[in-house]
Amino acid sequence: MAEAHPVGFRWVMKAKERGATIIHVDPRFSRTSAMADLWVPIRAGGDLAFLGGLVRHVLENDLHFHDYVAAFTNASVVLKESFRDTEDLDGLFSGWDEERGAYDTSSWLYEGDELDRPRRDSTLRHPRCVCQVLKRHFARYTPEMVERVAGIPPDLFRRVADALASASGPERTAAICYAVGWTQHSKGVQIIRTAAILQLLLGNMGRPGGGILALRGHASIQGSTDIPTLYDILPGYLGMPLPGEDVGTFTARLGHRSGYWSGFRAFAVSLLKAYYGRRATPDNDFGFAWLPRITRNHSHFAFFAEMMDGGVDGLFVMGQNPAVGAQHARFERKALSRLKWLVVRDMVEIETATFWKDSPEVTRGELVPSETGTEVFLFPAAGHAEKEGAFTNTQRLLQWREKAVEPPGDARSEAWFVHQLALRLKAKAEASNDPRDEAVRALDWWYPETEGGEPDMEAVLAEINGWRTLEGGAPEPGDAAGGPSGHVYARDRDGGSHHGPQVEGFADLASDGSTACGCWIYSGVYGPDGVNRARGRDAQGPYGHGWGFAWPKDRRILYNRASARPDGRPWSERKALVWWDESEGRWTGHDVPDFPTDKRPDYVPPEGATGMDAHRGDAPFIMHEDGLGWLYVPTGLKDGPLPTHYEPLESPLRNPLYGRQTNPAVNWMRRPENPFADSPDPKFPHVLTTYRLTEHHTAGGMSRTLSHLAELQPSFFAEISPELARDVGVPNGGWITIVTKRGVVEARALVTRRIRPLRVDGRVVHQVAIPFHWGTTGPVKGDVANDLIPLSMEPNVGIHEGKALLCNVLAGRRPGGRDAVSWLDAYGRGEER
């Protein structure tokens, strides 16, 4: 965190100063470790076993926060008789279909199949209740097993377990922060899930100082999942339509009968109203048919594979540099050469725009510039200080950015580019009269402009917040736009009346077309009072209300109903956050309650209740059908209702826990260009992991090209232990060659005790750590670390495995030019060295 989030790490240092214990678990002793009380080196890929060991420690020693767990989690829920755990099936859950390579997840549901009416055993003794299943599931994750899998000795493990257990209960909490070191695994989602189980058991969710903090990869990555650049969800995590669906069946598939997702239809219809304006009517299903449908996997790796096979004509690349930053970059660069056209928008000429003339493939004779048919259009892009808009970062905080300076020359914002592109596409669609262009013609592209044809970004924010529609009977803006009537930016680009007053928040959204909302979870950021809350810079109180806007509804801590006892009183004065005020008959406190304000803590839903009324007054997890925190996930995951340790796709050992070596549901993306080493493989004996340096920014386009940053880390290097350096025969600063089944790179050896050899499964395992910031352009150059990484897709979200794989390290520089390819092939076959 100190490495990649130095500014946020200020608060960790502040906590340390106030007496918090800082524990850092990482294969490397990084800048974060240097500041920690306890550094725990771990074998990359052993995270789930380590966390599972902690879960077992808590359960076996009865250290969980009893009252919290019994009341607020699904520990008491009874599972189906047909459910089988990995304990029973040697690493598989019930429902596995070997042929499809996927699970039938129906046996994972609660007994009775009704998620909103679970059968609970408050004694937690029922043999099929989640608590007992959880205990059995994690029973084999003993400290000895943690050592065997993760290389963490029992005394070090014990220190972590004791520290965590002591930060639990009414008076104490602990937070877990993670970044891509946890996500980029073939079981990434399940690693985070294990952390969630641990935090629920310790009573650390929804409480001050608790929680799990996802540190995002760069600015507004949270924003780009909220209002997604992902192929499979619509804004506000609504999911994407399937072929043949209408609003009704779409809602039936993704909405819930109880809990907050019961509002799904209102959120979806309001989004359609924002997209299509007056063209979205009850008669045409609010234009639902115009939305694209998911027909197959269109995630990054899947479409790059299609591109390689010649199935993709054109690509827009904005704010990304896949030629350096994407996994198996060698594969991706070659795939780019199969495009007909490529638009790259960046502040500098990045490798993705120059792959055709100076990539390693050109040097190696794999790509010939004169024969590469891709037409590249490079557009100069404005930097973040050169444009207006909002960032949404860690903690779901929207922060408005003012434009500090004009962008140089022809550089323009992304918003300008997309806006101008949309205007041109719409003009073409209007002219074509082709029925297939109707979805573009129907788009309500109303955005007013500021100087230079830039769309007014606050008008976009107004749409994201949502408004009442004129066709739904809302008053016209008249002359009062921006005034007390609640109209904000209510005139379109031609000056016509466009919409009615702003909505206060998502509770106002309706499914009859009377409201429009660009992203329901952001609703409330720019309400009828005309105050852009993302712009707020007057932080008040310990939770920072007044600085920016934390979705939803400026709630700074999610599920904060859990900060009070089931009866509504705070767990302790020290950790009071929100509580039930009996005299006022409402929830109150230091944060905005993440709960229906007037729902009594002793509320019991009547038979047949739906929506939020179907939840009890002591059910804080309002997004779930049952209102409970899910130790066990009955639906939604593709690789199991409980986290299970599988080895990485490339591993130096066989899985000591189960017969199943790897996550069964993972997509290996097997193809000739994407080979994997065996597990274990004598040709690739060491564990390779990648990371980032404070001095550089991801693929380097924003840092390698700036002299004041480039000089701070001017060269690609690899961190290895003195022990491995001795074995390889390389001094500190010497050149080494790092080879995997996919690629070969050369780097300078940074020999340091900050990397320790680990004892894993009875033998010594060396780890090699490489930062991935360099490429072929800019003032400081270096080989591309991501050339070494395979393509693969984790079952739930399609994340690759970039943090744990196998490599070998050889003294000296790699073969250059055309020899590199034949050398690599020969090495992979075992014919070299």
């Binding site: 790490f9 240092m13 100063e17 240097a34 220190r159 340096l693 002299s707 290097f717 900050r754 320790r756």
Partner: protein
């Protein structure tokens, strides 16, 4: 408390030290320095200091090497055998493996009470500011380089190239221009953990003493305050918490302004010349 309240902390707030003629200082506390180098970059950005060669040094994460004409803040990365307070560095606890620690110290011009560079400067280019800083007027500097050998800390250096803009001697200006506008120097302003504190010298000294007590209670048993006052530099305006031997950071135990040796040197020279004269006279007398 060392880490303050962000924009509201004393370290970051507007001030009038120049107007009021208050002597200011830097207090740098490496126990909360996270090694991000924001100070190095902020310094270069604000003061328009050019980039260096950008040579990879293979010396931990330090590629700036040392303070110099184009490096006015320098974060020293030290990987040492030894404990840092009560930190448990994985297996490196001293039981099975040698203990280990990694510290980051942001070095800077000390703005000495008795500044060797200022004393040595023949052109009057180097002056003392209202707030006690040592400031090089680069439009007066003729690039003679006397100051370079005059600095006991190896801070000031000549930048290769021709005057003006290069050719002369350069070092930390204490962000005198920012100070005049009531702003904190760029390095302290940018420091995310407020490991670099800027403020009235005596207040900082008091704060540093309290911090040292705090650290000792927390188990940092080999920390000291690097603030030599008993030598000819007579005190420095940028002082540091140091773990272990300060010489590992390039901080001499007894920094001396070379001018302190002037009296002795002139006396020796005088004695030598008198001796030589006597010898010459004697030689003639004896012949």
């Amino acid at each position: 408390m060392a880490i303050g309240e962000g924009p509201n902390s004393a370290n970051q707030a507007r001030h009038a030290y120049v107007r009021d003629g208050i002597t200011v200082g830097f207090f740098t506390d490496p126990t909360i320095c996270i090694g991000c180098k924001a100070c190095e970059v902020a310094c270069k950005e604000w003061n328009d200091v050019p980039a260096d060669d950008g040579v990879w040094e293979g010396s931990s994460y330090d590629n700036s090497g040392s303070l110099g004409a184009s490096t006015w803040r320098h974060v020293k990365f030290l990987e040492q055998d030894g404990r840092l307070g009560v930190q448990v560095a994985g297996p490196m606890t001293g039981e099975t493996e040698e203990p280990f620690r990694w510290t980051f110290t942001s070095d800077v011009c000390k703005h000495c009470e008795e500044a060797g560079c200022l004393e040595a400067c023949p052109t009057g280019s180097i002056v003392r500011t209202e707030t006690g800083g040592v400031f090089v007027q680069d439009d007066v500097c003729n690039g003679c380089g006397y100051c370079v050998v005059g600095c006991p800390f190896g801070v000031i250096d000549r930048r290769a190239g021709a005057l003006p803009g290069a050719g002369g001697a350069f070092k930390c200006t204490f962000c005198y221009d920012r100070q005049r506008s009531g702003l904190t120097p760029a390095c302290a302003k940018a420091c995310p953990t407020e490991s670099i504190q800027f403020g009235p010298l005596e207040e900082l000294r008091e704060q540093a003493r309290r911090r040292l007590d705090e650290l000792r209670v927390q188990g940092y048993d080999d920390v000291t305050l690097y603030d030599p006052t008993e030598t000819s530099v007579r005190g420095i305006h940028a002082f540091f918490v140091v773990a272990g031997d300060p010489r590992a950071l390039g901080l001499p135990l007894h920094p001396e302004a070379p001018t302190a040796f002037l009296a002795g040197a002139w006396t020796s020279a005088l004695l030598a010349s008198v001796g030589l004269m006597l010898a010459a006279v004697l030689a003639f007398a004896l012949l």
